[in-house]
């Protein structure tokens, strides 16, 4: 049986640190979710809260991908593969939504057709 030649003590420390960082980020995510900082109107998140929340999630995801999945020192082939994959996934998301947001005619607005409710009969 071949013996280990490489010293892994430093690697182990990095892994432990990343694990702790991920735990901390989870707490931040929960806090941001329970008390959305940019909350307006009814309780709940606004688009700004989404950006913040997803930014934290992306940070966590990058840590996992880079350190745990060893992407920080991977082969170029894998980078190219992931680059194109993400490009296509992004295309699917963006083009689909863009197609839906750009209708050839204005969609019939049911809310307006009922007269809206901000009329003289405003809630007291």
């Amino acid at each position: 049986m071949a013996e280990a030649t490489h010293d892994y003590s430093k690697t182990k420390k990095t892994y432990a640190k990343v694990g702790i960082a991920l735990g901390v980020f989870t707490c931040i995510t929960v806090a941001l979710g329970l008390f959305p900082p940019l909350d307006v109107g009814p309780p709940g998140p606004t688009p700004g809260d989404f950006v913040i929340g997803l930014a934290v999630a992306t940070t966590k995801a990058s840590l996992v991908a880079l350190i745990f999945m060893h992407l920080n020192h991977e082969r170029g082939l894998i980078y190219k593969l992931l680059l194109f994959t993400c490009l296509f996934a992004f295309g699917l998301l963006v083009l689909t939504i863009f197609a839906d947001m750009d209708p050839i005619v204005e969609q019939y607005d049911t809310f307006e057709s009922t007269g809206g409710w901000l009329t003289n009969d405003r809630p007291r």
Partner: protein, 483 residues
């Protein structure tokens, strides 16, 4: 024959086969979950105010289960750390520590799935909602399976062309009533069917006979056309049968199987008609929350559920809060010097979400929207009828007042649908990954002794998948539970 580069990396690509393979597989997984996330964004952005069900805020759906989600996140992160440590242990050729870390990872997966079960169970079995025809919604629990139609059947009419009537499944578990065939193909009338098995074999025999008779008659008909008969006799073979029970049998028809019913008959989805007497057709509902997001504010005071609440002070307080929210929102945009976005002026954005109803029928204090009162808020009894039980939060709702009802399962709305689909698919990945890792630790010793590097490679590849599963959850947790 040996496949090259199974263990050692190829020089020019720098990868061994399995590593390249798993990254390719992960790329397709990125597209799979990318498609689901796209669907999530598409559906959420596509919600039309005042038409579709509003997209709920994750926190208000999950309430105390937000913490379960958070714990699950930590559990998965811990398991990811466990996998890398197991891999390092193998690299250091420490079998014992490898075993410990791997079992730790599998234990984490088990904990994750158990917490998931708790969550699912609560949503599927302990939370229901009813949407009334005026779009007001009540959240609570449907009691005693009263969403089913309760019916005393006497006669069943069915087609001999179709599959076995679905109504039989509702009967099988109970005492099987003795049926007599009262109408049907010649020779069958009068047959007595005492057991479910007898019914089944009778049905299959007659279905076969019917299709043979039909085939022959059609052959005759085609022959007459081909030989130029002026007015060929049309094909007519009796394809329906009716059986009558000796005594009425009780049916609890699932609403998904029944397409229509009235006082004397019940129509199943598969075309089977049951005649008899309707016993009860109302839903007994324990109200926890009243939600009027979908009711236009000027119509709220006419809504059915509003009339059920008999506390004027509570109602007044509800509107006061709603107006106050509106003013706050105006002030927010004025302070920022922005024009109020149009969508904030309408629909759900101006509604205070819920009135919570306490167990004794009182309105309950809530963080975001509350009606402070010490009076009972619900009229006892039933919608559109007299109350019977005194003040409580139990309501009897006639079925024709209900637009849609169900548990908080995938049917309940698009949020629930995508929540269940994505978390279940993720759960399947967790189970699959855990099984593979378990295999590596339980049956790995032999390979370890033969070629430890090969086992390390396997663990690295399995670990890559496991980290990916963790990575998906890192995104799922905020968008499903929090945002």
């Amino acid at each position: 024959m040996e496949i090259p580069y199974e263990v050692t990396p190829r020089r020019d690509t720098g990868l061994y086969n399995a590593k390249l393979g798993v990254w390719l597989f992960l790329a397709s997984e990125v597209m799979l979950f990318g498609g689901l996330f796209s669907a999530y964004v598409f559906l959420r952005l596509g919600v039309q105010d005042g038409v579709d069900n509003p997209w709920p805020w994750g926190v208000s759906v999950h309430k105390s289960f937000v913490w379960l989600g958070a714990i699950n996140t930590v559990v998965l992160i811990a398991s990811s750390v466990g996998v890398v440590f197991a891999w390092v242990s193998l690299k250091e050729r420490n079998w014992r520590r490898y075993q410990i870390w791997m079992y730790f990872v599998v234990a984490c997966a088990v904990v994750f799935m158990c917490l998931k079960m708790v969550e699912y169970n609560s949503k599927l079995n302990h939370h229901h909602g009813v949407k009334l025809i005026d779009n007001s919604v009540m959240e609570g629990v449907i009691l005693d399976k009263t969403d089913q139609v309760r019916f005393d059947g006497e006669k069943i009419t069915f087609s001999l062309q179709a599959a076995l009537p679905a109504v039989l499944k509702d009967l099988d578990s109970k005492e099987f009533p003795a049926f007599t065939v009262t109408d049907g193909p010649e020779g069958a009338v009068g047959t007595e069917l005492k057991t479910a098995a007898a019914f089944r074999s009778w049905f299959h025999d007659n279905r076969r006979a019917f299709s043979q008779a039909l085939a022959e008659d059609r052959k005759r008909y085609r022959g007459e056309i081909a030989s130029g008969v002026a007015n060929p006799k049309p094909v007519s073979v009796k394809g329906t049968a009716t059986v009558t029970a000796s005594a009425p049998f009780a049916l609890h028809g699932s609403p998904r199987k029944i397409v229509g019913h009235n006082e004397t008959s019940l129509n199943y989805r598969d075309g089977v008609k049951v005649e008899g007497k309707l016993v009860a057709d109302h839903v007994v509902f324990e109200v926890h929350e009243v939600d009027m997001q979908l009711v236009l504010p000027q119509k709220q005071r006419e809504s059915v559920v509003w009339n059920v609440i008999n506390d004027d002070a509570a109602k007044q307080s509800f509107f006061t809060q709603q107006t106050q929210k509106y003013q706050e929102m105006l002030a927010y945009y004025e302070k920022r010097g922005e024009v109020v976005p149009e969508k904030m002026l309408r629909g759900r954005f101006l509604n205070v979400h819920y009135i919570h109803v306490a167990a004794d029928g009182h309105a309950e204090k809530d963080k975001h929207a509350s009606v402070h009162t010490s009076e009972p808020v619900l009229t006892a009894g039933s919608i559109g009828g007299e109350g019977e039980h005194g003040p409580s939060r139990h309501l009897e709702i006639p079925r024709d007042q209900i637009k849609f009802m169900g548990n908080h399962g995938p049917r309940y709305g698009n949020y629930y649908a995508i929540y269940f689909t994505m978390t279940a698919l993720h759960g399947l990945h967790v189970i699959g990954g855990a099984l593979v890792l378990l295999f590596f630790v339980v049956f790995g010793k032999k390979l370890y002794l033969k070629n430890p590097e090969h086992l390390a490679n396997r663990v690295e590849v399995g670990g890559l998948f496991w980290h990916f599963v963790d990575l998906i959850w890192i995104f799922l947790f905020p968008i499903m539970y929090l945002l």
